[in-house]
């Protein structure tokens, strides 16, 4: 029977599709095909495991019916959830699916442990791999669920008393328990204790991190799950699991670092900084006059219609209000009047890097209109009007001027250089970083309060009449 080599070759092919798929995902033209190629490789690996695994193991194998049922159930639920989710809720969806993968890895470790003969003497490598898979998978699961809850708005940012100290202690306990089980005594009760502590650690790890930093956390947990999957692969000597897991583990780590760089902060700073809960620090409120100037819809329509060029800065507020379509509508109206309209995309605008691009692409905004921060910043001084829609921290001049500000050093869109700035906002609430924005009080700044979609709709109909 030649099924063993066929299974091995299938895993090789699957591994290759993962690498190629990931590579293609990093170019706009090939991204979609890359995703499909990786998916095809995955399907191949799953089918081959079901059909050909027999050859590894001369013993009878069981439970085919139950496995197929589980696969079908996962497929149906996964498809429905992924199809139904709103574009704005994408980040938490990714976090949710990531948590599922983490849980899967942890559960595998539990079953393997139950069937693992307890070694009497010496170093037990298989046990180490199980323990690591269990811990990392569990942390990833509970952490992802908290991140999901936070982005859904069901869980508020909260720093528990002595949170950092508790985290440090839990981490030490986790490492200590792993070492003790390897070199001391491997009692089952310790194993399950480790499971519970890892779950708690995941919760406490994500809990104090502010909503604005969730993308970084999701990306980090994503690479955790990759590692957990790789440990599973190590356990079974399964190369497809190893490649998939490690690739995501390292790629996810790099992606996390890229995101941190975009905010000019270190990973440690994100994880320990408790950015979102810093309170109302910052904003030199003593100097300058503190009144904000409002602008009416009709004034703004005139202002926009008679401008040469406009830059729109979209933020999470645009996503929440589902205002991307009407925003594109307004842009087209202004173009017809000969106004040049561009979008300035901050690398971390929205809840995930690239979030705004996805949203605006949904509304059919052409690629060429989307400008990245480094391209647009030098041109902002020659811009007549900047329209900030539901963005806050990414245009806060405090990042440049105020060294005491929690976001000091983060690269921003320098909209304060433009001739006029109009800010669409629901109210005077602070941004995700929880800090004041002095830009609102600048003499050249005008505020337009209200729901972004509502305001833009009124604005569009006014512009038509100008």
């Amino acid at each position: 029977m030649m099924s063993l080599p066929i299974l091995e070759i299938t895993y090789l092919v699957a591994s290759l599709t993962f690498v190629i798929g990931l590579k293609m995902l990093s170019h706009p033209d090939s991204a979609r095909r890359g995703n499909l190629i990786a998916a095809a490789g995955m399907l191949l690996a799953i089918i081959a495991t079901l059909g050909l695994y027999q050859s590894y193991d001369p013993n009878k194998l069981f439970n085919y019916g139950l496995i197929l049922f589980g696969l079908a159930l996962g497929t149906v639920i996964g498809t429905v959830m992924a199809k139904r989710v709103q574009m704005t809720a994408m980040p938490q969806m990714v976090s949710f699916f990531n948590g599922m993968g983490g849980a899967c890895a942890a559960l595998i470790a539990i079953i393997e442990y139950q069937q693992h003969p307890i070694a009497t003497a010496g170093f037990d490598g298989a046990l180490l791999v199980m323990l690591l898979g269990l811990v990392i998978g569990s942390v990833s699961f509970s952490g992802s669920m908290i991140a999901y809850g936070k982005l859904e708005g069901k869980i508020k940012d909260k720093t528990l008393p002595f949170n950092q100290a508790a985290n440090m202690m839990l981490l030490l306990v986790l490492v200590g328990l792993i070492i003790y089980q390897l070199f001391g005594a491997a009692y089952p009760v310790l194993f399950y204790g480790l499971f519970v502590i890892a779950l708690v650690y995941g919760v406490l790890f994500v809990m104090p991190i502010g909503g604005a930093d969730m993308p970084v956390v999701i990306s980090l947990l994503n690479s955790f799950t990759g590692m957990a999957a790789a440990f599973g692969g190590f356990l079974y000597g399964n190369k497809a699991m190893l490649t998939g897991g490690i690739l995501v583990g390292s790629a996810g780590t790099i992606l996390t670092i890229l995101m941190c760089k975009a905010m000019n902060r270190s990973l440690t700073n994100v994880l320990l900084g408790a950015f979102g809960s810093a309170g109302g620090a910052g904003a030199k409120s003593a100097e300058g006059d503190q009144t904000v100037r409002e602008i009416s819809i009709s004034d703004m329509a005139v202002l926009l219609s008679y401008s040469q060029n406009i830059v729109i800065v979209p933020g999470y507020g645009l996503a929440v209000a589902q205002a991307q379509h009407i925003c594109h509508e307004l842009e087209k109206l202004l173009e017809e009047k000969g106004v040049e309209v561009n979008y300035a995309i901050h690398p971390v605008a929205g809840r995930m890097p690239g979030h705004m691009n996805v949203l605006l692409a949904e509304a059919d905004v052409p690629y060429e209109r989307l400008q990245e921060m480094d391209e647009i910043n030098p041109r902002l001084a020659n811009t007549d009007v900047v329209v900030v829609i539901g963005a806050n921290d990414v245009v806060n001049p405090a990042a440049k001027n105020d060294s005491t500000s929690p976001i000091y050093g983060m690269p921003i869109l320098e909209v304060d250089k433009a001739k006029t700035v109009v800010i669409l906002k629901r109210g005077m609430a602070a941004g995700y970083a929880g800090i004041e924005n002095e830009l609102f009080f600048y003499p050249k700044t005008r505020m337009l309060f209200g729901d972004a979609k509502d305001s833009l709709q009124k604005l569009a109909s006014e512009v038509k009449m100008v």
Partner: protein, 105 residues
């Protein structure tokens, strides 16, 4: 100590594999335009769903009267598959929006 060294040398092939795959992951990801960060993260998320293969293997070994293992394993298969299918479908939905449009200018 000797035991650890023995374990390492017995698994040397795997360790080579591990290190090379780590470097490969780093290389593949560098120079990604920011607009693709979200789909890329989502695609990578789907790929680590390969852990479902492990869940299938666990279930294949579990004897049909071991109800604890069966129920945990079943849960693992469902969750792993959720990760795979949900991950790929969400990524595809995101990328669908990047479809080519007739260029103006």
């Amino acid at each position: 100590m000797d035991q650890i060294l023995l374990y390492l040398s017995a698994n040397m092939e795997m360790i080579y594999f591990l290190l090379l795959a780590i470097l490969l992951g780093v290389e593949v990801i560098s120079n990604v335009p920011a607009i693709l960060h979200t789909p890329l993260m989502s695609g990578a998320n789907a790929i680590h769903g390969v852990v479902v293969v492990g869940a299938i293997i666990v279930m294949l070994h579990a004897s049909p009267d071991n109800y604890a293992a069966l129920s945990i394993g079943f849960l693992a298969v469902v969750m792993g598959m959720l990760n795979v299918v949900g991950g790929f479908v969400v990524t595809d939905r995101m990328l669908e929006m990047f479809k080519k449009k007739p260029k103006k200018s």
